[in-house]
Symmetry: C2
Subunit: 206 residues, 2 copies
DNA sequence: AAAAAGTTAAACCAAATGGTTAAAAAGGAT
DNA sequence: ATCCTTTTTAACCATTTGGTTTAACTTTTT
């Protein structure tokens, strides 16, 4: 499926992928309509099938692109050579910035987990993590040996970091409802969060 | 829409709601088929419309039931009279148990956030929280005044608690993929988590 | 017992949906 | 310019979908 993609403007295939991303992220696989994607791309619907055999194929292409983009966002900070206690603020900073710039991504991935958990599992498994976890593990151990932190399971720690950064974005409507917040209040709370969350984790480790 | 619901066995309306819950939680609103719900309930599809006007009405009924069940699970522990540092282990214990017994609930609520954030916001807003937040706030203040913990914004703390408990369940396929875990390994990790996560939070507060 | 109200089943329906087809148009090679 | 290949278009298609209709059946009320 190598289609001609040169040209001064975006190729048809790219148009399709870009529009499919928008529509799939907004509506999910089941809610998205092929005609809607075609309309959004400004093309004839039959082209969706010409370039991507069927809806599922198109969806998987979008999904793969999405996690290919997501993983580096997670991995770079985790595998940097910095000591652990410097990694943590970096992690939150980079990660939360990524989510703010791509607000639909966590939601999209999470929605797909219910529909097709296997795709998500294999999608994340297939990506080469470049020894991210090993490097993180090492950083944790070194910090323990230096007496900077108490012993901690690196898996649990990563999980805490990811939970504390992603979930508050995902849970936005719940938080608005539960705390009776409007958009501005939610925004303020999230800005405040950026300031305090890494300190929370660092305190937990000492 | 008060339908007769006595009888030795479950009424048709209850059958519908129970089956709708199962199917909507598995497939979401867009993926669920009315015929499938009817088949699951062992009834004729026209009855779905007789008892619940349309698909959306049925979905909202299921959604409301779901959060009516969810809120007490969150609220009781948060509003108990116990001191904060006792509340935290209780919170994780009760909350994680609830999710384990209702594994589809977080996923269901989160999926709906994308499709219909307004419904989620108003759903959570409408529920009477019984001054949960005020009580929690008070517990936090008292703990600070007694010098047990450092000052902390109660909203951020609730958010941390909820993030640390829910997200690892929601993220199951990601974790399996990222850490190359099978079902048994994931299970072990979550059992371990139950043991360490409240200590993590308590350390963070001191 | 008869009438009224409630429930159910099966057939039906219009529109939507993902996909197919064939011809026209566009692009590339000779 | 001609031929071949690729891309695009517009019409078409079979199936699915949420919903409607009507009559039969069941329960409740008079």
């Amino acid at each position: 499926m190598v289609k001609k993609d040169e040209g001064s403007s975006e190729s048809t295939q790219e148009k399709i992928l870009n529009s499919a991303r928008v529509v799939f992220m907004a509506k999910g696989m089941d809610g998205a309509r092929m005609q809607e994607i075609a309309d959004h791309a400004g093309i004839n619907k039959a082209l969706l099938h010409y370039y991507f055999r069927d809806k599922e194929t198109l969806f998987k292409a979008v999904f793969s692109q999405t996690i290919l983009k997501l993983i580096p966002a997670l991995s770079e900070v985790l595998s940097s050579d910095k000591p652990l206690l410097e990694k943590i603020p970096d992690f939150f900073s980079v990660h939360m910035k990524f989510i703010q710039e791509n607000p639909m991504v966590p939601q999209f991935v999470i929605s797909e987990m219910s529909r097709n958990p296997g795709l998500v599992i294999t999608g994340f498994m297939a990506i080469k993590h470049g020894g991210v976890f090993e490097k993180f593990n090492k950083a944790v151990q070194e910090s323990v040996e230096r007496g900077e932190i108490k012993p901690v399971d690196p898996t649990q720690l990563i999980l805490n970091l990811v939970s504390l950064s992603i979930f508050p974005f995902v849970a936005k409507p719940i938080l608005k409802g539960f705390f009776n917040m409007d958009e501005s209040q939610y925004g303020q709370m999230m800005e405040e969060r950026k300031k305090v969350v890494s300190q929370f984790v660092i305190n937990a480790l000492k």
